[in-house]
Symmetry: C2
Subunit: 433 residues, 2 copies
Amino acid sequence: MDKPVIRVGIIGAGFVGSALVQLLTDSSRHAALLDAATGSIELVGVAVRDGSKPRPGIPAGILTTDAEALSAREDLDVLVEVVGGIEPARAYIESALRNGVSVVTANKALMADSGTALAQLAHEHGADLFYEAAVGGGIPILRALRSSLAGERINRVMGIVNGTTNFILSKMTSEGSDYAVALAEAQALGYAESDPTADVEAYDAAAKVQILSSLAFGTELVGEEISREGITRVRSIDVEFARRAGYVIKLLGVAERVGESGISRRVHPAMVPVDHPLASVHGAMNAVFVEGARSGPLMWLGQGAGGEPTATAVLGDVLDAARNRVSGRHDVPFTVDDTLHSFPAGELSSVFYISIDVLDRPGVLAAVAGIFGSNGVSIQSMEQSGFGDEARLSFLTHLAKTSDVEATVGDLAQLESVDSIGACIRVIDGGGQ
Amino acid sequence: MDKPVIRVGIIGAGFVGSALVQLLTDSSRHAALLDAATGSIELVGVAVRDGSKPRPGIPAGILTTDAEALSAREDLDVLVEVVGGIEPARAYIESALRNGVSVVTANKALMADSGTALAQLAHEHGADLFYEAAVGGGIPILRALRSSLAGERINRVMGIVNGTTNFILSKMTSEGSDYAVALAEAQALGYAESDPTADVEAYDAAAKVQILSSLAFGTELVGEEISREGITRVRSIDVEFARRAGYVIKLLGVAERVGESGISRRVHPAMVPVDHPLASVHGAMNAVFVEGARSGPLMWLGQGAGGEPTATAVLGDVLDAARNRVSGRHDVPFTVDDTLHSFPAGELSSVFYISIDVLDRPGVLAAVAGIFGSNGVSIQSMEQSGFGDEARLSFLTHLAKTSDVEATVGDLAQLESVDSIGACIRVIDGGGQ
């Protein structure tokens, strides 16, 4: 039987790109790929920056250093972009889409910045734009949101979507390490970069939250800033407090409905109950927890990074795009819901954990408690531990508005007897299990 | 813009069927459904057994008691079968498929029995046959295997795919209950039927393992018997032993590659390390853990039963089938891999936990240990606890062949001083986290 031929070009041959070439050229998987793609896949070009580097496994005849020319080829069916960054990745993708060539990308930064416009461009030219690998590496969560849960009203998406920070927090939990020690270990093992800002300050997770939100709720992907707090202020003492109280601290990316048309999108450390499925996501693993109106709680777990897992997700997209080419259709992009508005982060209520180091003097506790009270934040429990002239006060609040808690922290910082204020960590409720 | 109309019929209006009708007729979700289906969905018939029962929420004009006639309607696009059982469900499905009508079913028993033939029939008539809800209720695991992981070589699928038994084992774990007490509680809460055989003897889980295996590996769905052991022999003492050793006992459905062309499919209680993602699947939740060659470990978790979660999965299938109708294509069924063979359960090796009650007499331990030795089963650790004239011996073996362990148990049962033999529980290794 004659199978149509799907011509694929790849821009980028780093960990993901070269793992993908291997997957596409593995002869033992040929029949399975042919089946899944409903056509035979021909790799026609791989664009790399440095043409002089040896590229074992990539047929020499298809190597090129001219990514621009590859992205402009009209005879492509699918262009894969795995270089990352905003430019020139965007130019490559636009060029392909304008030719009606479907695009598969792993580029979370670009999708968070310009996803809506690119999806629209794809739609106008009858092409697909898939980006499964942009969130959760090898975890097929975006396709699930797009397809399996298409008819479902989703109320909340919560994810551990950054492996670096989860590795660091897991180390702090399992070994009692300080943040700096755990970060250094992550760097030594290659889980964290020498400049870890994008991970530990949650820029990476924030981009992923924007992408998840667009598919779950129909929020636009236009590079909006969302509420973002990293893990640099989480201390081993906080991790220990959490443990005693039956929680683990995780960096959570959250997108959820608030009221009829509000969507809150944010990233922050949170205390997760130990029996919540997200609490058992260890090391560099990722997981996304979805609460649907009818489906109930659902969770996806897997490796959030790494060349091979990510390449597997990219391959799934390539096969989807190939099937669509063969049947002459393309997927409708996520629908933007214009009635939604961004719910202000300060207006959200939560239970908070706050820990403060104070000089151990008479009247300090009364002064601190007074500040909570005057800001309308009511205290659920307090724990005091002394060391030398200092005391550490750890508070759990009742449900309190984020802006009130922020005002409390601001006032506390003015108190002479307050030495330092640790992280304000939101406490998450159970997982519906 | 004119959207094509997708005509849907539903056979069965129990929990799942009526929840589906609600989802399809919810006017607030109309736009989302239209978008996802790329056509407008018209519910043209709902077949019920008892026409005299009031059916709130189902428009009277489309109610019928003639399921046969509904399944034979040539003007349908999609027939949904949610009555369960082998016959007459099979006849309804065959009738629809022969007309080229796509079928969505939640019928695990029928799919495990005749899935290959039905998928073939669908393919011949250019129709789709989807059955997402047959495994894991609302968890979209089958679509992930079919689509996201289509290009991946899967090595092992392990699942907690029966909510009833997981509820019982969770109770035994969290409260130290005996099996009988936990079962009675499950029955009182409606998690277990008055005759719990299908659940506790793992028939239900076995059917699901067959379906998972067909999608992961390409084994046939022809009603084959697979190795099956339920939870009726698990005692609270075993659960407690597991806890002390860092494990929890779960009923696992497993399908895995053994060697080049062997596939082992089985259901049995197993000790799962507490830090394995499957260990944190509590209560009536379900989860499926997949190990791919490149993707690494992946897990899906969610509600394995219940009208609304299951209806959500069915709806996802209906929307998929609708999209395919609109674009005039159908999905290729899973491919049967003829080179695979069923790996004999007895030949598999594992670490086993075995616990025996013996009369506390001199020489008993030597006799028992001798039987292990003569069957080639080597002991890793032993724990003895006495109570009155009896002693309980709990063994962990080294890696041992299942048939050797079975022979050991057979010989032990012959010993006069052996009072009773508990469950043989396999010990599972870590989750790659």
